[in-house]
């Protein structure tokens, strides 16, 4: 297996390119305060469900099934990101629920810059036994989509149609 070598400084840019090509949004925040401030602006006036990950700064309603089903926006942290495909990686052992990033029509994730890896290869060499740590590892690559009707691309089928990633520490 060949590991592609990107200089670490470029990974955020690479991730951003890959995700925006899929119609995802990326925000580069210089530090945690800026990230949380930006987050609060995005959430103003919306019904929000969020995990209790410290990086989020305690916004929104706590997780419950009903909250996820009713919320406009679900906010989570992320364990890793993969630069070459614009992918977010979630391991439930970090107390991220499965449904916060799945039921609401919009998903926002906040992640530290240095959690961005090059690719799936690197992820699997870092986490060779995902099943040990949690019951679910989920890779999310852009908004939910289908082309089942006349091959026309439609976003937001069952999962969120809009996804935004705030990268902290650019």
């Amino acid at each position: 297996m060949r590991l592609v070598d990107f200089p670490r400084e470029d990974l955020a840019a690479k991730f951003s390119d890959a995700l925006t090509a899929l119609n995802g949004n990326v925000v580069l925040a210089p530090d945690l305060d800026a990230a949380q401030a930006h987050l609060r602006t995005m959430l103003a006036g919306k019904r929000v469900v969020a995990s209790r990950a410290p990086i989020l700064g305690g916004i929104g309603e706590e997780y419950s099934r009903e909250a996820c089903a009713a919320a406009d926006i679900g906010v989570t942290s992320a364990d890793f990101a993969l630069a070459d495909t614009g992918t977010l990686v979630f391991l439930t052992e970090s107390r991220e629920s499965r449904l916060i990033s799945l039921l609401p029509p919009r998903h926002i994730a906040v992640i530290e810059r240095d959690r961005i890896l090059t690719s799936l290869d690197e992820l699997l060499s870092r986490v060779p036994h995902p099943g040990v740590q949690s019951s679910a590892m989920v890779l999310i690559t852009g908004p939910s989509r289908t082309a089942d009707i006349e091959m026309r691309l439609v976003r937001g089928v069952h999962g969120p149609g809009e996804i935004t990633v705030i990268i902290v520490g650019s």
Binding site: R98, S135, A136, V138, P160
Partner: protein, 454 residues
């Protein structure tokens, strides 16, 4: 050939709208694949294919050991493996569990394996509502039809037809129709007592299943209901989580031209203490249903390497004309051509392996390098030997005899007289589609002799 190819073939060929839909949908999928495996995008594509092929071979060569390892690890994570030798056993387990738990509503994400065993019919008979949640599958379920293509189940339906099925306005856009389905299915996900999925891969060293999708319905089916059941053929096994690096790189690209599908879920057992959500119970139904029999065939066991990407369908000149419904079983296209006789018996649809021009495009694009044309040729030989057409055999015996007697062969200038023959049999079939070729005035031998070269 004893049984004739289905009427469906003629019907499909005669429908210009359907022809256009099939050709353009498969063409688009093929074009997208090409972009993501191009030499400058994925330079080690051929090595990856070989690696994937070798991994599958290795796994199937040691399947017993890997199955045991898988079961141990599923149990260690709090899940349970159910061994089903037949489809009936698998259905019985699922039906019984639903009854025991008082479940009346089940949500399903896309699983060709569940189609193979007629799971939905079984559940309906038990009074259980089994709702398909993949958009394409949902549509065809409402229409009472079967999937048209491994990746695009509703490929054959126009938006007007979909609108009718969903009781929507006739001029609804795909966005409108998707929104209607989203709302309707959301209720089901949250109310269902059991979520049933297939599995793209079973990971032996982790006791985990892997679900690859774009919509989110597999995630919802495996996360919202209290019970999750995954139904998968035993050949879906791969040795280690790390092997996903090879398979995931090939699957998305080969299927739809995506380097990674939108959602990849690696699920190892039910939710654990401290996790906010996830199923309380986790079952993996391992299905044989004829697979070990195929495994025993040295030349054709590679048919089981298939990762269900659909690339062979998209490149097959025959599939692109006759469409998914012309195939007798749930698996269509080139992979369907080689699996059907092996599962159902060669006598069932003996024409199937012959419905190919042997162009080889399928083998060329298969991400795990299944030698489909080679297997088709083996199947042809088996069929002809077991239940061949006596007249055809005689014709080929005569062919072989003539070809061993060159002076007789050289006499066949009568071929020029073909034009004057009444059109019957193969000649009639040829002429139904095209004109006869122009023949040269002199044969090669005649010309060669004239130049004094003999």
């Amino acid at each position: 050939m004893k049984s004739a190819p289905p009427q469906k073939i003629q019907q499909t060929l005669a429908d210009p709208k359907l022809q256009k839909a099939i050709y353009s949908a498969t063409g688009r999928l093929a074009g997208n694949r090409r972009k993501t495996i191009a030499a400058d995008v994925l330079p080690d594509y051929q090595e990856l294919r070989q690696h994937a092929h070798d991994l599958k071979k290795h796994t199937l060569d040691h399947l017993d050991a890997y199955l045991e390892e898988f079961e141990r690890n599923v149990a260690a994570r709090g899940g349970k493996v159910i061994w089903a030798s037949t489809g009936a056993e698998a259905c019985a387990f699922i039906g019984n569990l639903a009854r025991e738990r008082g479940v009346k509503l089940v949500v399903k994400s896309k699983s060709m394996t569940s189609e193979e065993i007629h799971l939905n019919e079984h559940l309906e008979k038990d009074g259980i509502d089994a709702v398909e949640t993949d958009l394409g599958e949902y549509i065809i379920q409402l229409a009472g039809e079967k999937p048209y293509h491994i990746i695009a189940p509703a490929l054959h339906k126009t938006r007007e037809q979909v609108a009718e099925v969903l009781h929507a306005e006739a001029d609804s856009t795909p966005e409108d129709l998707t929104a209607i389905a989203r709302v309707a299915l959301r209720e089901k996900f949250l109310a269902a007592g059991i979520g049933i999925t297939g599995a793209n891969f079973l990971v032996a060293d982790s006791g985990a299943i892997v679900l690859v999708e774009n919509e989110g319905n597999a995630r919802l089916s495996s996360s919202a209901p209290a019970i999750h059941i995954a139904v998968a053929g035993i050949e879906k096994l791969i040795p280690r989580a790390q092997d996903l690096a090879v398979f995931l790189k090939l699957l998305g690209r080969s299927a739809t031209g995506q380097p990674l599908s939108v959602y990849t879920s690696f699920l190892a057992g039910p939710r654990r203490a401290g996790e906010p959500d996830g199923p309380e119970e986790f079952y993996v139904v391992l299905l044989d249903n004829g697979r070990t029999k195929i495994l025993a065939d040295p030349g054709k066991r590679q048919s089981l390497y298939c990762i269900r990407c659909g690339a062979c369908l998209n490149h097959c000149p025959v599939y692109r004309k006759i469409g998914g419904y012309s195939y007798p079983w749930v698996y269509s296209g080139p992979i369907g051509k080689i699996l059907t006789p092996q599962f159902m018996g060669r006598e069932q649809d003996p024409w199937l392996p012959f419905a190919s021009s042997l162009c080889g495009a399928c083998g060329e694009v298969c991400p795990v390098k299944i030698e489909i044309p080679k297997i088709l040729l083996e199947l042809r030989q088996e069929i002809v030997e077991k239940s061949g057409d006596r007249r055809e055999r005689m014709a080929f015996r005569m062919f072989a005899w003539i070809m061993r007697h060159p002076h007789i062969y050289a006499q066949f200038r009568w071929v020029r007289k073909l034009r004057k023959l009444p059109a019957a049999g193969p000649l009639k079939a040829w002429l139904s589609q095209r004109d006869l070729p122009d023949l040269p005035k002199k044969s090669f031998r005649e010309q060669w002799r004239e130049r004094g070269r003999a």
